[in-house]
């Protein structure tokens, strides 16, 4: 059980390891098969066919109607920006974007920028468990709304949101529906061909492909205005020479994700649940943040009250345990997580929140190791905290 020098990586919502099979699939495209997929010669053409193969694998993971609905991009943020800006430019008479208070900064900060440019932005609030206020959503989505953008699953607390229902509301009002599915892909089974989602963003490095490659799904029949202007790549929808190795890796990762999606929802989920049960049993004054009824199988967000998250992470790091925190201090920002604040989690608990996020590469031994170390870490910091003493009376 002792794993003194091995890294215990429980920060898979931040990024994941590249799967060995993915790396292997990529190598030829970083070495001998360096052709440009746009070239007319066979040397480039064989690369183009690999890019198309990857597109098909990704379309298969998403349950898309056709592989032509996939546009490869550089990352989740690019996909988000491309989707929302396209939606606004093809609906010029509408001036509103409806999103949520708990989006990733890729969407939140784009919306802030849009507001500065004169667009209206409405943010759907959440309740104490981070669930969307659907009544407010119905009020906000109106005839002036061009795009509704709601994440499929939240990166901090793992909540899964009712994207199909929201897409129907959007369509009822003539608006487009986009979802940032960066955290959901590979964990939530998807059948986009049977859904009303118009656009979906994803990022490779969240499911064992490398960083620097993402994709945007645009449903057939939905008009699209390119974000990156230039060459004819991606059928004129995303200029720039393809990141061939990254795309091939993304395709392989999609294939693997499809194979392992049941495992994510059984074995990986069990590890997460084991960690939570162990923490609740061994440490007082903790709270699990998020919606237990609708949550990603790999994500756990736990508040350790009366202490601060960065300190917790620093002490865990000494034992080579990697997690992240919604605390202000960890990012260099001075405010705790906007997600926890939107949920009304008290500051006392928000500053001491730790996110553990699993992948299929985690093991039960690792969970046991964390459970052996964590109580001591919490106790040490509470021993220094002025509030813990007060709390103890």
């Amino acid at each position: 059980m002792e794993k003194e020098n091995k890294v215990i990586y429980l920060d898979n919502n931040a990024t994941t390891c590249v799967a060995p099979e993915v790396f292997e699939a990529m190598v030829p495209y970083l070495t001998e098969l360096y052709g440009n997929p746009s070239s007319i010669h066979h040397f480039g053409g064989q690369v183009a066919s690999k890019v198309e193969e990857a597109r098909e694998k990704l379309a298969d993971l998403l349950g898309a109607g056709a592989s032509s609905e996939i546009i490869f991009t550089s990352c989740g943020s690019e996909s988000d920006s491309a989707a929302i800006l396209s939606g606004l430019s093809i609906c010029p008479k509408r001036s509103k974007v409806v999103t949520t208070k708990v989006e990733h900064s890729a969407v939140i900060n784009l919306c802030k920028e849009l507001e500065r440019k004169g667009y209206h932005v409405s943010e759907i609030p959440v309740d104490a468990k981070g669930r969307l206020d659907m009544e407010r959503a119905r009020e906000m989505i109106d005839e002036d709304t061009a795009v509704v953008s709601v994440m499929w699953a939240n990166n901090e607390i793992g909540n899964i949101y009712p994207v199909q229902e929201l897409a129907e509301i959007a369509h009822h009002n003539g608006a487009l529906f986009h979802t940032d599915a960066v955290q959901a892909v590979g964990k939530v089974p998807m059948a986009l061909k049977d859904m009303d989602i118009d656009m979906l963003s994803l990022s490779g490095h969240k499911f064992h492909a490398p960083k620097g490659v993402g994709a945007l799904y645009v449903k057939r029949g939905v008009r699209f205005h390119p974000f990156l202007i230039g060459g004819h790549q991606e059928r004129g929808r995303r200029a720039g020479t393809e990141n061939v190795a990254g795309i091939v890796g993304l395709g392989k990762a999609a294939e693997l994700a499809k194979e392992h999606i049941t495992e994510e929802n059984t074995r990986v989920k069990a590890l997460r649940d084991q960690l939570e049960a162990g923490v609740l049993a061994s440490i007082p004054s903790v709270r699990i943040n998020g919606d237990p009824a609708s949550r990603l199988p790999n994500t756990s967000n736990i508040s350790f009250e009366y202490i601060e998250g960065e300190s917790i992470l620093m002490l865990l790091d000494l034992d080579h345990i990697c997690a992240s925190s919604g605390s202000a201090c960890t990012t260099g920002s001075l405010e705790p997580s906007h997600v926890l604040r939107a949920m009304g989690v008290p500051y006392t608990a928000a500053h001491g929140s730790i996110r553990f996020s699993f992948s299929r590469y985690n093991t039960e031994d690792e969970v046991k190791f964390v459970l052996a170390k964590l109580p001591g870490v919490i106790e040490k910091l509470r021993g220094i905290s002025p509030y813990w003493k007060n709390h103890q009376g």
Binding site: Y306, L334, Y347, G383, I384, S385, P386
Partner: protein
Amino acid sequence: MWNYNKKVMDHFLNPRNVGEVENPDAVAEVGNMSCGDALKISLKLDDQGRIADVKFQTFGCASAIASSSALTELVKGMTLDEASKVTNRDIVNVLGELPEEKMHCSVMGMEALQAAIADYKRKHGEKVDETTEDDGDHEGRIVCHCFGVTDAKIRKVAKINNLHKAEEITEYTKAGGACGSCLDKIQEILDELWRPGTSEHAQPAATPAEDFEKLSLVKKVLRVQDIIDREIKPVLERDGGSIELVDLNGNEVQVRLQGICATCPNSKLTLKRFVEAKIHEFISDKLTVVEA
């Protein structure tokens, strides 16, 4: 990932003087949980009036804990007079260095110490100089409402640490670190503080309206140009815009908005509420400002 040095890590992992002094002569608590860090210190003096024992409890990040620990080591054995001269720089010196974004942790240590000294004086009937030592005008008004930081604290921390930019004040006091709406105000306070020559208000003297009327046309133009250059242009340029004086026709100041201001839908408001207001303030309220 923060790159804390060995000394900071040592004070974080092995904090000195944790807890509460029994029967303390003074206690103080600064910060609070909602701000993300808080420090409580208690201390006891010996017969010679030196700090014999001092303990701390901290809610906060590694650098907050390390700063508190360093503070207690630093002040042990000092008289209260000596301790009152301790600044956040001294705490940083004990630690070697802190990341710039974490400087507010050292400032919290200084504040807790000063609050404890004030507590001692209060308990012993001594006059407490509530206004901090070198900022004797007033207790200060709140500039940053998110973190409750006053102008007095901003000036004080700026002077001790030689800070000239609003962003530095954020690193040292957190002020402006949440909604950011006070950053311009903080910069104004700093600009005023560091204005060369005098710490007094060095605003350009307003010309009485009658005097302005008596000026020759050339002098009028120069006067308007001067106010635009000094009072108006720098503010617009901060937002990516600019302005130029096109003509002065009777009492009509004709200007051209440039940069982002030229295409900004709020340019009419900028013209009336800001540009014209400044012209009225510094020259004459008889003038009107129009776009050329």
